[in-house]
């Protein structure tokens, strides 16, 4: 009787199957030994927290924290899948501001995070934070995430280019001033005044601009307001910056990485919208620009208007699967309320914490040589309190996608027909997209 009749190919596969099965059984999936599993999507956070964890474990003997880094694209999907299937749900997780809303889809009882509002009020943290940062993580009265940041936005600019064209950043107060300066600097195809995208709304583009002007995807009650008057005006302001004959905004398509770094060094863009976290990317990427970059506040939308906006955000949530929410809460406080640690975090990541009293720590006013000695922390802290609020709903990802589509269509229209009929077009387009979002919201039976 043949031992194995299927031939050499099948035999080798059989052999490999046995060998790999053996290996895998010798290396089983790591069991959850940790007291707390913590998911993050940012390598910077991961590196920074790894350094801090030993301190926490020393203070709380027997507690073991397991940090896991998950791809940002996948984190929301994985978290959602984990919530829905009750498998491998972490105890604590970070979540990006743009996707947090999707976790609020089902009935309140199905929300995978615990409501932190009681703890926030009890500890007094609620008042000590920049208030507007709670709104993206709020649903039906409950607060499900601890904001980790404020992310005020400034303009980082190339000092040499500005000097070459005689542009004094102190003289630029409003966007009109900025646009006038931009016309001098912009050489289409070679040099643009500011890095702005004509196809994506995030990445410091339309979203940041619209927030500065009071625009928003949703109102505090969660209703979609993409087609509101403010939004129409924001779109009408933004599109001519990136399309048409007078555009001053350009981009290579990437906002970090090797191609982007090179474009900054080559002077392809003279200024960039920079939240605090991005200043680190700028330091690390276009390294040849060290000492040659300056920071200026965002031009105001109207004279006397706010000189900042916001881009990005991360929340920390404690899931309902966590067996010991108290220790999780303590860890959260350890990371985000201890002033010394927040200062250390700032030194590593340039990120301003939402805890206002922490900003007085000298680390924040330390001069940053890359930006010509500017006190990075103090500058961003100055504008932090006026950062606009962002409201969310379970359909936030749909809303973002729809606004992106609207932007592309409006850009195309403007490139083809200019100002003629532009207002009507923008209004109609935004209404169309808002209706799409509303139809989606109506579908939600929960």
């Amino acid at each position: 009787m043949n031992l194995f009749p299927y031939g050499k190919a099948a035999l080798s596969m059989f052999g490999l199957a046995v060998l790999s099965a053996g290996w895998i059984s010798l290396h089983p999936a790591p069991q959850k030994k940790a007291t707390l599993t913590y998911w993050t999507f940012s390598k910077d956070h991961y590196d920074a927290y790894q350094k801090l964890i030993p301190d926490f474990e020393a203070q709380h003997p027997g507690v073991h924290v397991d940090l896991e880094i998950v791809n940002n694209n996948a984190l929301a999907a994985r978290l959602q899948a984990a919530f829905l299937s009750d498998l491998d749900v972490p105890d604590m997780t970070e979540l990006e501001i743009g996707t947090a809303g999707t976790m609020f889809r089902g009935p309140v009882k199905d929300i995978g995070f615990i409501d932190l509002k009681p703890r926030l009020e009890q500890s007094g943290l609620y008042d000590r934070y920049v208030q507007s940062r709670f709104s993206p993580y709020t649903s039906r009265g409950g607060i499900y995430g601890l904001p980790q940041d404020v992310h005020p936005v400034q303009l980082v600019y190339n000092k040499e280019i500005f000097a070459k064209y005689g542009i004094d950043p102190d003289k630029i107060q409003t966007w009109d001033d900025f646009i006038a300066a931009g016309k001098k600097v912009t050489i289409p195809g070679k040099q643009y005044m500011i890095e702005l995208s004509d196809s994506t709304t995030g990445s410091g583009g339309l979203e940041t601009i619209m927030l500065q002007r009071g625009g928003s995807y949703f109102d505090p009650a969660g209703k979609c307001i993409i087609d509101s008057d403010v939004m129409v005006k924001s779109m009408e302001f933004y599109v001519p910056l990136v399309a048409g004959p007078n555009k001053i905004g350009g981009t290579t398509g990437d906002f970090y990485g090797a191609t982007w770094s090179k474009s900054v060094e080559d002077g392809y863009v003279a200024s960039m919208i920079c939240p605090d976290w991005r200043t680190l990317f700028v330091q690390r990427g276009p390294t040849k620009m060290a000492g040659k970059m300056g920071i200026m506040p965002l031009p105001a939308a109207v004279p006397g208007g706010i000189r900042t906006s916001t881009w990005g955000g991360t929340m920390l949530g404690i899931t309902k699967r966590c067996k010991d929410p108290d220790i999780a809460w303590q860890f959260a406080q350890f990371l985000y309320t201890d002033k010394a640690r927040l200062a250390k975090n700032f030194q590593q990541t340039n990120i301003l914490p939402p805890l206002k009293e922490a900003w007085s720590n000298p680390a924040f006013s330390a001069p940053n040589p890359y930006y010509g000695g500017a006190p990075l922390g103090a500058i961003y802290a100055k504008y932090a309190p006026s950062v606009p609020a962002q409201y969310t709903a379970p359909t936030i990802d749909t809303a973002k996608a729809k606004l992106g589509e609207a932007l592309i269509d409006c850009v195309k229209y403007y490139n083809d027909s200019g100002d003629k009929g532009f207002d009507d077009f923008v209004r109609a387009k935004l209404k169309e997209k808002a209706d799409d979002v509303r139809a989606f919201q109506a579908r939600n039976p929960y």
Binding site: A81, S199, T259, A439
Partner: protein, 324 residues
């Protein structure tokens, strides 16, 4: 141990029942296991198939009328899934994209594949094996890896495609946006899948061509037919079964287009959903948002559409070519 096609040597003349006294097994066991054998052989498969093949199909018909929150909770919603689907802008875009892609696929890939097969079939050609391997190797790579590779090739500024085109075509800028521009997404996808699948279809056509009776060609040549006439009179009818097979499978495969656009467009539909396909839409709705019922509804719509089109194709090619 030999692996060839030769049969094991064994006398094939039937022996009379009584002439071999060394039959060890009793005859009743023998006939019993002979009768039971087919059931025993086929039943493991049938059981597994019923559980993992048939049951899900039936369940999905049911699920299509529910809205779910993942596998946890379900709410009966009747036809509202289908109602929403057909009015949903994104679904319409997905259908449009998928149809455009399928048409491009069929009308570009198949003629190219046939053409290459004909060229490869020429008697005077040397390096036949090597060329066949060369054309087929893209298909060996697998859609995911081709997606990753071509995403790099189509990237702005540093990608190979732009750099080569810029050196050949005067005035072509290396900043030409392929995957970032809604208008160029579909061409990029069509080109990539052309590269990927031409070899695969070519192999089928080649097999069909090689099966054509040489005598028919000789007779045609004797009759004075030129190559073009020979093609239509001899080749085309002979490869009709294979051509139909390739046509139907290409169409069905094109409708299920997911991996390439998903990977190349960064796990999404791309700018303005220019690369959104029906299956991608299904995936996003069902497994990211979590509504398994809606996903089933989309799945069935796709299935019915594909079935209808395949049947139509088979009928058309059957009746058209039947008028020889």
């Amino acid at each position: 141990m030999s692996t060839t096609l030769t049969k094991p040597s064994r006398p094939t003349e039937p022996a009379s029942p009584g002439s071999r006294p060394t039959r060890a097994k009793s005859s009743s066991w023998f006939t019993a296991q002979h009768k039971l054998a087919p059931y025993v052989f086929v039943s493991p498969f049938v059981i597994m198939f019923s559980i993992f093949g048939i049951y899900p199909i039936i369940k999905s018909i049911m699920l299509a009328f529910y809205a779910t929150n993942g596998p946890k909770s379900q709410v009966y919603v009747g036809f509202s899934n289908f109602n929403f689907m057909f009015h949903h802008h994104d679904f319409q875009i997905a259908v449009r994209n998928t149809i455009i892609y399928t048409l491009c696929s069929v009308f570009l890939q198949l003629p190219c594949a046939l053409g290459l097969a004909i060229l490869l079939n020429q008697k005077w050609l040397k390096g036949h094996s090597f060329l066949r391997l060369a054309f087929y190797s893209p298909n060996l790579m697998g859609t995911v890896y081709v997606g990753i590779l071509f995403q790099q090739l189509f990237s702005i500024h540093y990608g190979l495609v732009n750099r080569v085109l810029a050196s050949i075509i005067p005035g072509f800028s290396t900043d030409f946006k392929w995957l970032g521009d809604p208008a160029n997404v579909m061409p990029a996808l069509v080109l990539t899948s052309l590269w990927l699948y031409v070899g695969y279809n070519m192999v089928y056509f080649l097999a069909g061509l090689q099966a054509v009776d040489k005598e028919l060609y000789e007779a045609a040549e004797v009759d004075g037919a030129n190559p073009w006439q020979r093609f239509w009179a001899v080749t085309a009818p002979s490869i009709k079964p294979i051509a139909t097979f390739v046509l139907v499978t290409s169409t069905i495969g094109s409708f299920q287009f997911f991996d390439l656009p998903y990977i190349m467009l960064g796990n999404g539909g791309g700018p303005n959903n220019a690369g959104l396909t029906i299956v991608m839409y299904l995936y996003q709705q069902g497994f990211i948002t979590g509504d398994l019922g809606y996903a089933s509804a989309v799945g069935w719509t796709l299935a019915i559409g594909v079935l209808a089109i395949s049947l139509l194709q088979m009928k058309l090619t059957g009746s058209m070519k039947g008028n020889d």
